[in-house]
């Protein structure tokens, strides 16, 4: 029995945290100057195994601090306090193209963090760790209330922060994969915003009638929030990603019902038949499927489908009519949506119309399409089925992991600041945006 091995102390603090909170990983009492591997492991809801690891050398006191010491190799390099989370990837031998998304947000993601002697890259389960701890990562803070919404034929989930309110609110839309994705809305509620995740593609009404929703579906969602006793109706924002951005821009400009205080657009485009509904948008993209590219890895690239940016005003949202502050977030390696080209066109339209002071544009190099909450893993390609197709594709989303993860962290922080600035300000004066983020 080698008792010396059991002297190693590992601490991760806090052991329970929200997904957007950082943690500190400390190793103490390891053999001085030893080569160590710090590894994280997660067994996901869909029974897949994920891991990340960094190679370190501890100091002469046997201590290691992941906030200060660099990883010399592994799934991440350099000084990366959160690398054990954002560089998580499926373990060798897993099926290709997996994606990790938390469905049940009322339970935490459990991650085991362990320390091993030596610089290991595989075979962790055959080795004995020097020490291990379990860490919980939560999408929901204590006291946040999760309320399924079915009024007005909506398929949605409302998350309310704890306390009496009233709260500003965010209407949260995801993209072409459909389903009711709750984790961003619950994180927003954990940050003090009421938030409603809205399913607009695989919602109950569409599933039972076979008909896609019209624009009044989104207006009904807005009205539901506006009339809620714990929500301030004049402080509602909309946040879309991918197809969600398409809908957000449409509603921000053309809806007479939706008076958005501000809007957030991730990885999306203003290109769409402006007089159409969701169905028309999907058909428009379907018609352009011949612009799909397949690369040498058999990965599907959809960014060219709706390029070039049309000149026809019937085919893109008139950005000159935007009346609220707008935050546009673009990954420059987005291989799924022409978000950069669209953003450039949007900016030009707004400059010509004289409302470009409302626009804040954040562009991130080497960052792909799926810009998700911070410290969650990056997916460059995954198996994907959009609601329109019954086929499975290996879709290229883009992005290089380290840069993409930095972008996720920065964009989340700046988006929360943007929302706080425009939704929580105490003044009654007309809102102007600041583009100096």
């Amino acid at each position: 029995m080698d008792h010396k091995q059991c002297t190693v102390q590992l601490s991760v603090q806090p052991s329970r945290a929200l997904v957007d909170e950082k943690f500190k990983v400390l190793v103490q009492k390891a053999p001085p100057g030893a080569q160590l591997t710090v590894r994280s492991h997660h067994h996901s809801e869909d029974k897949q195994d994920w891991e990340a690891f960094g190679h370190y050398i501890c100091d002469s006191t046997g201590a290691l601090n992941l906030s200060k010491d660099p990883s010399l190799g592994g799934t991440y390099e350099g000084v990366e306090p959160m690398g054990l989370l954002w560089s998580l990837r499926s373990v060798p031998g897993s099926k290709p193209g997996l994606r990790m998304r938390k469905k049940s947000i009322e339970t935490p993601m459990e991650v085991t963090v362990s320390v091993y002697l030596g610089h290991l890259s595989e075979g962790f389960s055959e080795q004995r760790a020097l020490a291990a701890v379990v860490v919980e990562r939560w999408y929901m803070a204590p006291g946040v209330r999760r309320i399924p919404v079915t009024e007005h034929s909506l398929t949605a989930t409302l998350f309310l922060p704890p306390g009496p309110g009233p709260f500003p609110a965010v209407l949260d839309l995801w993209g072409g994969g459909g389903n009711l994705v709750e984790y961003r809305a619950s994180l927003l509620a954990s940050n003090g915003f009421a938030a409603m995740a809205l399913d607009y593609l695989t919602n109950e009404l569409t599933k039972t009638t076979g008909k896609m929703v019209e624009n009044d579906y989104f207006e009904a969602a807005f009205k539901f929030l506006e009339q809620h006793p714990q929500i301030v109706g004049s402080r509602i924002a909309m946040w879309g990603l991918s197809l969600g951005t398409t809908m957000t821009l449409k509603m921000a400009v053309y809806s007479n019902v939706m008076k958005l205080r501000c809007a957030v657009c991730y990885s999306g485009s203003h290109i769409q038949p402006v007089d159409g509904s969701v169905k028309d948008i999907m058909e428009y993209m379907h018609k352009k499927e011949e612009n799909t590219r397949i690369n040498e890895n058999q990965e599907v690239i959809w960014r060219d489908l709706i390029l070039p940016v049309p000149k026809d005003p019937a085919l893109k949202v008139d950005m000159g009519r935007v009346q609220c502050p707008l935050l546009v977030v673009v990954g420059l390696d987005d291989q799924n949506s022409p978000s950069y080209e669209s953003a450039m066109d949007m900016k030009e339209m707004m400059e010509e119309a004289g409302n470009s002071h409302l626009l804040t544009l954040l562009t991130y190099p080497n960052t792909g399409h799926l810009i998700e909450p911070p410290y969650t893993p990056h997916f460059r390609t995954t198996v994907f089925r959009s609601v329109k197709n019954t086929d499975l594709f290996m879709v290229l989303w883009g992005g290089e992991t380290a840069a993409h993860s930095r972008a996720q962290e920065d964009a989340w922080r700046k988006t929360l600041m943007f929302l706080r600035e425009h939704l929580c300000d105490r003044g009654n004066s007309a809102v102007t945006s600041t583009s100096n983020l």
Binding site: C6, P14, V134, V135, A141, G165, P166
Partner: protein
């Protein structure tokens, strides 16, 4: 339109970080988006497992940006000064509660829930009668994720073992004899009960058998004194003894401390047991010998609350030091004294109880004075905990020959 929609001002933003923490971890409470330079009260509310409400509060003034943080200075409330954790350690039963309450979490698998709120103005009462401006919920856990809890019912021993997460191999262990007087049936408590319990731990496959230490509070510390000096069966690796006495009821059961025989000197509603020792020396001579502390062979940490009104902790510690020094073993003894701290030195940020109700063996309820003033007692809990953890780390994880006096 609802009134909320007509009022376009949103609630202030109250955040607690981390929202989920271990009981010995700090948190930060922050309020933003308040009107600037106005009076506010930060309030914490806890509903105990016994269905009693506990609260703490501090009076603040928002700065020119409309922010309040508990690193700010508070001049009123259940705590004063710069006390970021005051909303926890100064918790006390709400007005109108039953007398002599004590807060103890019996189910450690679930967290303690605290509602942290901000109210307008400097309030001292009536918090539940008015709506706060904002609230958040904080969870405080006694168990880290992945810790395994296993009930032990073996050879008449009843206890619970907690295994740290992620480890299947043998580890050093701490055995906690942690109970107050009267919390078990004295007829069961023969000396070999504790030896049996110790051996259950020592012989467990996930325990390193020569690395089992003992932590004891009050009577638990007395058990530790007994085992460390008299037991031929167990050899603790080290002991941490908080506010224990070393009186040996020789010839009787280890805990056959018949309280009647002390002829308690009851002052109003409080029982000062400590007075028994001061004023009833003859009884002490008749009834009690002392464990011969010079016989210890393991390192021992004594934690003494200098305002302990239940056990003469300082006098006991002085006497133990004398005995240990006389035996030439003072290198084994370390002592921590805390002025203003009472008997119940618990984990950090736990509320302080100067007096609580206590059922005697014959169903007679008295109010027992444990002692301590809240602020120094809370400081003692915070300071001693880290020192106890460091002490256990040193003696249970290191080679014994390297163990040195802290």
């Amino acid at each position: 339109m609802t009134s909320a929609a007509m009022d376009s001002i949103v609630a202030p933003l109250l955040s607690v970080a981390p929202t989920r923490a271990l009981v010995d971890e700090m948190f930060t409470v922050r309020v933003e988006n308040l009107p600037p330079c106005q009076h506010f009260t930060l309030h914490s509310l806890h509903l105990s497992e016994d269905n009693d409400y506990w609260e703490a509060f501090g009076h603040y003034t928002s700065n020119h940006k409309g922010t309040v943080v508990p690193q700010d200075y508070t001049k009123g409330g259940t705590y004063t000064g710069k006390e970021p954790m005051g909303l926890l350690w100064s918790l006390r039963p709400v007005p109108g509660s039953r007398k002599g309450l004590r807060l103890r979490k019996m189910n450690v698998c679930s967290p303690l829930l605290y509602t942290i709120s901000v109210y307008s103005g400097h309030l001292v009462v009536g918090f539940r009668a008015q709506a706060p401006l904002a609230s958040a919920l904080a969870e405080r856990w006694y168990m880290a994720p992945g810790v395994q809890r296993i009930s032990i019912k073996e050879k008449a021993v009843r206890g619970t073992m907690f295994f740290p997460p992620g480890t299947e191999w043998p580890l050093p262990w701490t055995l906690g004899y942690y109970f107050g007087p009267g919390e078990m049936e004295t007829t069961e408590m023969k000396s070999n009960y504790f030896e049996t319990a110790f051996n259950i731990v020592k012989d467990h496959p996930r325990v390193i058998s020569n690395k089992v230490g003992i932590v004891g509070l009050s009577l638990g510390a007395t058990v530790a004194f007994y085992l460390a000096t008299e037991s031929k069966v167990v050899k603790p690796c080290c002991c941490v003894c908080i506010n224990g006495h070393h009186f040996n009821p020789s010839g009787k059961h280890l805990f056959d401390l018949s309280y009647d025989s002390f002829k308690m000197h009851v002052r109003k509603l409080s029982a000062y047991w400590i007075d028994c020792f001061e004023y009833q020396e003859s009884i002490i001579i008749i009834y009690l010998n002392f464990w011969q502390m010079g016989k210890i062979n393991c390192p021992m940490l004594l934690v003494c609350g200098e305002d302990d009104q239940n056990v003469p902790a300082v006098e006991v510690a002085d006497d133990i030091e004398r005995m240990v020094r006389a035996a030439g073993k003072d290198r084994l003894l370390t002592r921590l004294n805390y002025p203003g701290a009472g008997h119940l030195i618990e984990v950090p940020y736990a509320p302080h109880f100067r007096v609580t109700a206590f059922m005697q063996a014959k169903e007679q309820k008295v109010m027992i004075v444990w002692g301590g003033q809240t602020k120094p007692h809370s400081d003692a809990q915070e300071d001693s905990w880290q020192k106890i953890l460091d002490y256990l780390q040193l003696h249970l994880y290191s080679c014994p020959s390297l163990a040195s006096k802290l």
